[in-house]
Amino acid sequence: MKNRILAFIFAAAVLAVPALAQTAQLPAPPPVEKDLAARASSVDEITLSKNMLAAAAALFMNSKDKDEAATSQLVERLDGIYVRDYEFAKEGQFSIEQIEQLRKYFETSEWTPIVRDRDHTTGESSDIMVKMVNGKSSGLFILDVEPKEISIVLILGPVGMEELGKLKNLAWLGIMEGTHHTGPDNGK
C-alpha cells in the first residue's frame, strides 16, 4: 500500500513538471539561449510578466500620445512579452543547428507558421508563428536571423496581429493578418 502511494506521488510529480514548464514558456531553449548570449557582442533580454505589463499599461494609459494609449489597451491583456536580441561582432558565431533548435522549440500542434522565409545564399531567415487555442490566437512568435543578428520575439496572450499592427512601428503586422506566406524554398 505504501509503495502504491509513493508510486502515485512520483507519477503525479512526473506529470506536473512538464505542465509547469508549459505555463512558463521561454522564447528559446535555455542551453541555446545561454550559448548565444555568451557568443554575442550585444545582448538584449526582455522578460515582461503579466504583472510588469500591467504596471507598464498603467503608465501608457496616462500618456497623451495616442499610440501609447493604444499600446496600453493591448499590453494590459497580454500574459507576457519575451524578447531576445543577440548581435554578433562577426558572421558565423552561431550554427544552423542552433537556429533549427529555436524553430523546433515552437513546432508543436499549438503553433501555426504563417511566415517562413529562407535565403540560403546569405543564411538569413524569418519565421512568424501564431499560437492558436480554440480557434483564437493567443500568442505570436517571431524569429529573425541575419548574418550577424538573431531576434527572437515571443508575445503570449490574446493578441491579434491586426491589433498589433495598429501600433506605431508594427504596422507591418496588420498587413499579415489572415495571410500565410512562405519564402522561396517553400518552408523548407
Binding site: 538584449d44 526582455i46 515582461l48 503608465l59 499600446t71 536580441d85 501600433l167 512601428n169 508594427l170
Partner: protein
Amino acid sequence: MDFEPMDDFDRKLKRLFERWPAPPDLKRRLMENRRRRKERPQWFALPFAARVAVSLCLLAGVFAALYGGIAANQAEQRRKGEEARRQVLLALRITNHALDHMNRQLAAHNRARQE
C-alpha cells in the same frame, strides 16, 4: 461536646485580635514606596492640554508613518512601471527591427521571383 466548634472559633478570633509587633523595616519600606511612586511620571498627573498635545503628536506620527509608507510604495510602483514601460518600448523596437528586416527580405524574394 457540642460547643467544641465554637471554642475553635473563639481561639481563632482571639489569635486575630492579638497584637503583633510590626516588622522592623516596615516604615522604611512604606516610605520608600511612597517616594518612588511620587518620582514616577504619571500620565494622569499631566495637565489636560498637555495630554491632548501628546495625543495629537502621537496621532500625527502615526499618520506621517502611514503616509510615508504609502508614498514610498507608490514611488516603487511608479519606478517599476517606468522600467516596464521602457522595456515594452525596447521590445517593440526590436520587434519592429525584426519585422522590417523580414519585410525587406520578402520583398527582395518577390522581386527576384518576378524577374
